[in-house]
Each structure stands twice: as C-alpha cells, then as structure tokens.
C-alpha cells in the first residue's frame, strides 16, 4: 500500500501562539493570515512541494478544525497524493489509553508509525510560524554530503539580536560543537531557524530514548521534558553525533509576536526586502477563496499596498495589506495596517498602524491605532490590534498598543 519515500517532512504546527492571542482564539497559529492571501503554514507547505517533498505530517492538537479544513486534502499545495501527501495528525486514543502531545518530541514520537510507513532515509522537521522560501532538497543534499546525523539550518543574525535565539557554535567545517538557547553572551551569530534534517534511524533512536528517560524521571517525580530542540539536539550533541549547520541566506522572519507579524507584512511593501511572492518558479500556494476580482471605486485612493481578490475599495489605502473580501468604504482611511479577510472599514473610520482580524467591522468615524508621530511619549506607541469577528462601534477609539478581543 505504501511505497518508500526518501524524505518525509514533519511539521510542528502545535502552538496556540499565546503571544498572538487576539488572533488565535479559534485558530492554531499556523492558520494565522499573512501577506494579503496566505496563512503562515502556506510557506513550509509550499516549500515542501517546491523542494519535491510530497509526504508531510502536520502535528497539531490546538483548535485543529480551521487548520484541518484549511489543509483539507492538500490539493492547493499539490500535496493530495495517493501515496504520501499531507496528513494532519491529531492526538489519539489507543488500547493503552488516550494522551495529548507532551511536547514537540513526544508529538513526533507518538506518530512514528506514520513515518515508518514510508520507510524514509531522512526526516525533515519544520515549524509552522516562519516566513521564508527555502529549497529543503539542497539542505538534504548538504546533510548527505556531510554524512551528518542531523543538520540544522541557521541564519546569521545581528550580534545585538543573537541573544533572542538558539545559537549554534560551529567549527570551520560547519560542524556544530555547541548549542545554547538564548545565550546572554552569544559566542556566535548563527541562529537556529527551527528547520532540521535527520537521518531517520538516528532520530528514531533519540526519540525513543528521550521518551523513556522523560517517563522514568516523571515516575520518580523529577522534572522532565519531551522537547525537540531542547532534549533531542542536546542529547545528540552529548553523544558526539555528527551535527551540522546549514547556513541559509535569504529572507527569514519569525512571526511569533503581533509586532513581528505586522513587520513581516510591512516587509512585503518594501522594495529592499528580498521576498518575491510573484516568482512563478517558486510559487507560494494557498487555498483560494473563489472571489471575483477586486473592485476599485471612483473615490478610491490606493498607493503602495497589496490588496486581494473580492475586495471593494472606495476609500484611501496607503502602505497597507488587505486580504480577500475586505470592504473599505468611501471616506475611510487605512494606513500602515493589515486588514484580514472579510472585514469592513466604514465611512469616516481611520485605521493606522494596526492589525484588524477577519470578519470584523470598524464602524463609521471609529479610530484604530495611530501613527507614532502623533504620540508624545514613544513608549506609549505600538501596533493596535482588533481580533477576529469584533465590532468597533461608531466613534470608538482603539489606542496604540491596545488589543481588543471583544466588541466595543
């Protein structure tokens, strides 16, 4: 029934994304909208397809309905395969009982049977909340060429920011000699991107060991964890396995916070940012909304923005990203903002430096956010956020930095 696959990818989509909470109330983080028509998970899934990887397991237990429906049979990403394809893997019950995933390593451990069906030589482990275009097949080639047990993709970050990341220390052959999570005094600027290639045989061994060790600790009442980066990588380093760093050059953005989500969107409007969504040789696939082309009315004034299909624009839009089915009425103004699918900005409303979730309504003459120039004390300034399905009533104000999850 299942024929062999050289490479299987496992996508850790688990997170609730609590730092994005206004936008992840009913959806898992990888389903958060981005870039006018995408969701975060479109990037790793499209990368898999474009890299020739056609077998992907998506591990999730938080609000999988939206993600499940969104991924569906995988057809939008060309991952609807008879043999292989994309499969959402939720937690399940066995004769021994039911258990939720207890950490990222445990999630993969519980789904070893899925992997073994395809008898792979290599397993690629991915996250679901980064924006980047990457050919994983080149990373696998690098892994094979180095006869590595594990290869971790890294990106060179500014020294000042290095302490926010997991930092890899390598020798001059790119072999990893040490790994420090968020070091205070970083010895290197190579940050882990959370993308791993493993020789499956090795990963399998360490998953089983970690599971058993953690359970033993738990039985003794000791602290334990079943975490991928923390436990598996550390154990492999301890055992002097061959770990290599694969340096990635290109655009890569972590969108773990509301600020970084806003920034990553704004990056698309900057001509200097090297992320091309219009390259036919490396398409970013997405589930299509089947809407007619956008209609721009007589009173519209659009500059330097990205707008998606099904929208109706009759107001002013500047430096903004508008998703599908958005309505901007005549006399409304949207600047430096992200407006998610189906949201309506009514006449006279002003939205600036803000993220507005999907299917929300900003009523007439309401105001969401403000430009930094208008704020006396810069510390009081930040992105304003309105969640999904929220109405901001007429004349109400959402201040900079404010996060609104319910109607006001």
């Amino acid at each position: 029934m299942y024929t062999k696959k050289r490479v299987v990818a496992m996508l850790l989509a688990g997170g609730q994304g609590s730092r994005l909470y206004a936008l992840t109330k009913n959806v898992a983080k990888p389903a958060v909208p981005y870039g006018g028509k995408y969701r975060l998970i479109d990037f790793p899934l499209s990368n898999c397809t474009n890299s020739g990887i056609d077998t992907v397991g998506v591990l999730t237990q938080y609000q999988p309905l939206v993600l499940n429906e969104y991924i569906g049979n995988g057809q939008p990403w060309d991952l609807d395969k008879m043999n292989g394809g994309v499969h959402v893997l939720p937690p399940y019950e066995t004769q021994a009982g039911a258990s939720w995933y207890e950490g990222t390593a445990n999630a993969i451990y519980q789904n070893m049977r899925f992997i073994e069906r395809y008898d792979p030589e290599y397993v690629v482990v991915l996250g679901g909340d980064h924006i980047y275009k990457m050919d994983y097949s080149k990373m696998v080639d690098f892994h094979v060429a180095n006869d590595a047990d594990c290869t971790i993709s890294v990106i060179d970050v500014p020294k000042a920011e290095a302490s926010r990341f997991g930092i890899m220390i390598c020798d001059d052959q790119n072999q990893v000699t040490d790994f420090v999570e968020k070091p205070k005094e970083p010895k290197s600027t190579l940050a882990s991107m959370g993308i791993y290639v493993f020789t499956w045989e090795k990963l399998r061994k360490y998953l089983i060991e970690n599971e058993n060790e953690a359970n033993a600790k738990r039985d003794k009442g000791e602290p334990w964890s079943k975490d991928f980066g923390k436990d598996i990588i550390t154990s492999m380093l301890r055992d002097k396995q061959r770990l290599f760093a694969y340096e990635f050059e290109g655009y890569w953005k972590d969108v773990g916070t509301l600020d970084s989500l806003w920034e990553a969107n704004m990056d698309l409007l900057s001509p200097s940012v090297p992320l091309d969504l219009y390259d036919p040789s490396w398409k970013i696939y997405s589930r299509n909304s089947n809407m007619p082309p956008q209609y721009v009315g007589d009173n519209a004034n659009i500059e330097n923005s990205m707008i998606s299909e099904g929208s109706t624009i009759d107001g002013t839009v500047d430096f903004s990203i508008l998703f599908s089915g958005v309505t901007i009425e005549a006399g409304a103004t949207v600047n430096y903002s992200i407006i998610m699918p189906g949201t309506v900005i009514k006449s006279g409303a002003v939205v600036e430096y803000a993220i507005v979730g999907s299917d929300s309504v900003i009523e007439s003459h309401a105001r969401v956010g403000s430009s930094p120039e208008m704020i006396e004390n810069r510390d009081d300034w930040g992105i304003a956020v309105v969640g999904h399905n929220v109405t901001v009533s007429a004349d109400k104000v959402v201040e900079p930095k404010q996060i609104i999850g319910e109607n006001i």
């Binding site: 082309p293 519209a300 990205m306 998606s308």
Partner: protein, 373 residues
C-alpha cells in the same frame, strides 16, 4: 439532497464561435476570458454545480486545446467525480466528421447521454453570461410535465446590433407560441438565454428522429418546425445577463461589471463563480498608483493610472502610464509613460514604453494574443 443524480448537464462550448472570430482564433467560445479571471465556460459549469448537477458533458468543436487546459480534471469546479463528473466530448466521433448542428452533435455523443442515469438534461451554451439556479426551472419543468422548458429573460433586442439572438413568444399559459431568430425589429422582448431543460426520453426521440431524417438544427427543425407537436414551455429568469455576439459586445459586457449592481448579480455570495486556480499573489499597487472604477484581478502589479478598466490576472502597468476604458487580458504588460484607451489586449500582449493607443467606445482597438507593440 445535495447532489442531484437526476440531471445531466451538457455544455455546448463551441456554439457561435464565428461571431467573435477575433477571440476564437486560438480558442473556442467556452475558453474566452471574461470578467478579470474567468472563462465563459465557468458560468454554465458553476450554474450546474450550484444546482447540484454533478455529471456534465462538454461538447466542443475545434480549437479546444485551451479548453482542455482550462478544465483539466474538472477539480476546480468540484467535478472530478467518480459518479458523474466532467467529461470532455471530443468533436471527432465514430463517423469521423465534425458536428454540423446541435442535433448532429447530440447524435454523435448520444452514447454518453444514454449511459447516464439522469432523467433530465439541461443544455447550456457559453455565450450568455448569467448566474442562475436551475432547481426552480427543473421544478417547474416537472410540474408542467413539459417536453422542453426554455429559459429566457426580458431584454432589449436591437436588430441593428444583436446577432444570433433567438426571440421567444409564449401564450398566456407560458407555452411556446413562436421562435424568431434574428428578427427584423427592435425593442423589449423575451430573449432565449441559450439554456433549456429537456426530458431525456424526449430528447432521445427527437435526436434519433433528426438523425434518421439527416436534420441538424435544433432551432429550425424542432423549435420552429414542430413546436405545436410538443409541450415546450418557458421559464423567466430575472437576474442580470449579457449575451456576447461580437467583439464590441464583448468589450461592453466586460465593462458592465463595473456597475456594482450588475457585478453583484453575477457574482453572488451563495453561488460563487468557480474557475481554474491561478495561485497569483495579491495585487500590488506602487507608490504613485491611481485607480478609479476598475476591476483588478490577482497578480497585477500597478505603478500607473487605471480608470474604468478590467485588468485580468498578472497584468502589469508601468509608471506614469494611463490605462482608460480598457479590457486587458491575462499577462498584458503595459510599459512606462504609455497612454492607452478603449483597447482590448488579448493574452500576453506587450506594449512598450511611451506608446499611445486609442480605440473608440464603439470600435475598441483589439490587439491579438502575444502581440508586441
């Protein structure tokens, strides 16, 4: 239920190709691009799918390569089915010749119709653009125990302008009284939307009758010749429609969609028009873009001014260019500092910098596929 196995849909994808010869040079009626991201066949297919019809045959004549390419497996219309699904019926059949008329075509593909378990057949052309739910039509057809039910709309017919238009007259019971093809008058009348429901057993009878008499034309032989022998009824459709019977008309029909009322009647939320997925990025507007009263499809990159125009997918408009009253098909590239108005640009036309092109509302300038200016 949600799927209606009682109905077979038949799309005539190549009917009236000759009337828009500019656009059908390398394609057929059904694959003519329309409305920014669609092809004409998307409308009948979507009408079928939203009416629960999941078995559809597409009858073509020539030049159907682009149609084959557009339809693919039928997946984008949810018609990649085991039970039913989308079937392209190539023009060359047992007898070797190309279909002559509608009845001849039906005779040639009869094996496909026969094989279906459906009791009713809905036939639709591609040259009338409208959004319609066939379920009320079917209900009326069944209640009337009609042989054929014609779908028509009230509309203004202009003898000077309109071509290949069939005007229907009904008696007080909605029963067909007269059929006029391109009659010599102008004014409001019942215009056939080139769609009808026929009971399959009845269709079989008229197709085999016609074959044995070597008759080809549905309109002439059946509607005009024998209308009193059969129970032929009418169903009035009230939504927006437009019929494309010339390149001028094609130009106007596209630009009609800039009227929000018409646009919303065609693109209903409960019956979205389905089409092939393109995976284009959102529209990107540049620093000095200026857009008014236009329909812009995904993948466009606009640096200049666009007014009163329809831009299909992945059109590029360079800096300081002005595009006015235009219909630019997929992949058109307009350079910098151009001024083009009342132009229809077919696929992948390239207009280099500084060009000025001006057509008129009544005679829009048509630039053929891949043209470089």
């Amino acid at each position: 239920m949600s799927v209606n196995y009682n109905v077979l849909g038949l799309v005539f994808a190549s009917m009236h190709d000759a009337y828009v010869s500019e656009l059908t040079k390398q394609r057929t009626m059904g694959s003519i691009p329309f409305g920014g991201r669609y092809r004409l066949i998307d409308f009948p297919l979507s009408n079928f799918v939203h009416s629960g019809v999941s078995e559809v045959g597409v009858i073509t004549k020539s030049n159907y390569g682009s149609l084959l390419d557009h339809l693919g497996s039928g997946r984008d219309w949810d018609l990649a089915r085991k039970k039913g699904g989308l079937h392209l019926l190539p023009p060359y059949s047992q007898t070797g010749g190309i279909y002559k008329g509608r009845l001849d075509a039906l005779n040639n593909i009869w094996g496909f119709v026969e094989h279906s378990n459906a009791k009713y057949v809905i036939m639709s052309n591609c040259d009338v653009v409208t959004t319609i739910n066939f379920n009320p039509v079917l209900k009326q057809h069944m209640e009337n125990e009609a042989d054929i039910t014609f779908v028509y709309s009230r509309g203004v017919y202009d003898y000077e302008k309109n071509k290949c238009t069939t005007v229907l007259e009904f008696d007080g019971d909605n029963r067909l009284k007269d059929v006029l093809v391109d009659p010599q008058f102008s004014g409001e009348c019942n215009i056939w939307l080139e769609m009808c429901i026929i009971t399959k057993d009845f269709l079989k009878k008229i197709v085999s009758d016609a074959a044995s008499r070597n008759q080809f034309s549905f309109t002439r032989e059946i509607l005009q010749g024998r209308r009193d022998d059969f129970k032929i009824m009418g169903y009035k459709h009230d939504g927006f429609f437009t019929k494309i019977d010339s390149i001028q008309d094609y130009y106007l029909a596209n630009r009609m969609l800039l009227d929000p009322e018409k646009k919303n009647a065609l693109f209903r939320k409960d019956m979205p028009v389905l089409t092939k997925i393109g995976d284009n990025g959102p529209v990107k507007y540049g620093l000095e873009s200026n857009i008014k009263d236009s329909l812009i499809a995904d993948g466009c990159i606009i640096e200049g001014t666009v007014i009163n125009s329809i831009l299909f997918r992945a059109v590029k408009v360079g800096k300081d260019s002005v595009v006015k009253d235009c219909v630019l098909l997929q992949g058109t590239k307009v350079g910098e500092n151009c001024s083009i108005s009342s132009v229809i640009a077919d696929k992948n036309v390239e207009i280099s910098n500084e060009k000025v092109l001006t057509g008129s509302e009544t005679y829009p300038l048509y630039i053929g596929k891949g043209g470089k200016i």
